[in-house]
Symmetry: C2
Amino acid sequence: MIKNDLFLRALKGEEVSRPPVWMMRQAGRYLPEFMVLKEKYDFFTRCRTPELAAEITVQPIRIVKPDAAILFSDILVIPQAMNIDVEMKPGVGPWVPQPIRSAADVAQVIVPEIDETLGYVMDAIKLTKEMLNDEVPLIGFAGSPWTILCYAVEGKGSKSFDTAKSFCFSQPEAAHQLLQKITDTTIAYLKEKVRHGVNAVQVFDSWGGMLSPEDYQTFSWPYINQIVEALSPLTEVIVFGKGCWFALDTMAQSKASALGVDWTCSPEIARKLTGGNVTLQGNFDPSRLFTPIPELKKMVHEMIDRFGKDKYVVNLGHGILPTVPVDHAKAFIEAVKEYAN
Amino acid sequence: MIKNDLFLRALKGEEVSRPPVWMMRQAGRYLPEFMVLKEKYDFFTRCRTPELAAEITVQPIRIVKPDAAILFSDILVIPQAMNIDVEMKPGVGPWVPQPIRSAADVAQVIVPEIDETLGYVMDAIKLTKEMLNDEVPLIGFAGSPWTILCYAVEGKGSKSFDTAKSFCFSQPEAAHQLLQKITDTTIAYLKEKVRHGVNAVQVFDSWGGMLSPEDYQTFSWPYINQIVEALSPLTEVIVFGKGCWFALDTMAQSKASALGVDWTCSPEIARKLTGGNVTLQGNFDPSRLFTPIPELKKMVHEMIDRFGKDKYVVNLGHGILPTVPVDHAKAFIEAVKEYAN
């Protein structure tokens, strides 16, 4: 049994003394201890070496002490396993030398055996679970199929993923075939993660907010929902769609345990759109961590008051920024622990 | 008098036979005629040479035939006039060699005399008005103070403008001083534009959607509203905040003639949030112009049906993409002209 089970209880909608807290990208560049490993090992070496991934995962548990750990990895290990070459270019970010642009390209994409291609993730889970010693739960994650398609087609990060979108709008059949392959792979991958011990999974739809509500219902949500349907009998599933306020009502009808919200959607609107009965997670603006600490803590308490302490997981509205001072990150977590309603 | 006054009538809320249409960035890289001038003259030469700016402004009027022209210029001519050096780096975009990062930097920023610094824009307006020969109205524009601050502080384009935001959150007094200087300059600038003949002005809050609803009300909206208050007695004012669905209710209470909406906000939600009585403008996803033409035209007709033909200006939800085929841009405009409800 997990000793600190606040996070899991909030996902199940149980009453808690205070909401749990973790931060997206909590194992990241704002931590000097992470930077030491980043200097020594390149990005995918860190992902693929179980000892490194496990060590990076538990660093924030020791240092900033959130109520849940999230396995250090990347959403792009999925396209890599599917025969799509993905590199991480320093200073540039993800880079796909041969992006998917046609039905013929989609035909080359495989749905792999997970143990053959992503076994290193399972090894990292086993090692992390040992290191965590059941102190806090461990979250596994994957990108949404739409978000993975964005990188696979665009070939790199983008402000608006216009190439990926124009591919979908001009070649919808090929797009749907690719999305289904990614979905099948992701379901198998997350099932294996659960089998190896993660206590919850989160699906990151980082680029769902680039779509209109109609196109979201066509190209993103149906595939996320396949994942939710397949995983929800096995574990708690969190869906986070950045910029996807317009789909919160649909998401709330699904079997997801919790829905992530970003900072552009107020707690009141988020509760209203989701019907008030589903656990919500978020939504502190990552840039707001630069606020002087006393005001920062006050803002965290106000945020909890507005969401309500139950059916709520405190988090940022997106990943923590590399430039945030560690004491500000600690203050964010402490503020939640100091909360008394 | 303007011969085709559909656009101005829609802004005034008058009944029209069909809604007017124009496209953000309609004078842009998707037009081969624009590319000829782009090859010859660099970005700010095109902005600063009245003959070039006027020619570029009227190109889309001849080729794709929208119901309004928008003066070719850039939102960054304002910081340039304020003593902030801004360059346009090919392949990179806006570049500020010495970004504003402190109260001391803000103190160096001036509120300039418009005729001394931006007289070339007024000359371009005079020339454009002659070339347009009162066929269609001419729109002038400016960036919102918040959006200009984003570039001035971040120093370049960004996915999330974290540096600009952390400046505001850690040095709010300096941020507000800078915002006020930009606002004062922008008001004087737009008043001069009106005096020289533009028939409406649009304020582009391209990066307002990076802020939480509370921070938007602190750092963006009050300054936009100063502009609306100052300009609305003189001309029609359109406010377009990309990603600012959460502020549409506030905006609808202002003296703005129309509000721009992006494609993540459905027509029904936009009408609901704005109370149903203000003219709306938008919101076709620019990437959706890649849709095959028959389906594209059908989507435009559906969009008009959903917004309603009155109190509505058909537009994209953001600027047209450089890669859009000209015949698809033409089809977008034609679809509106063919609309019969």
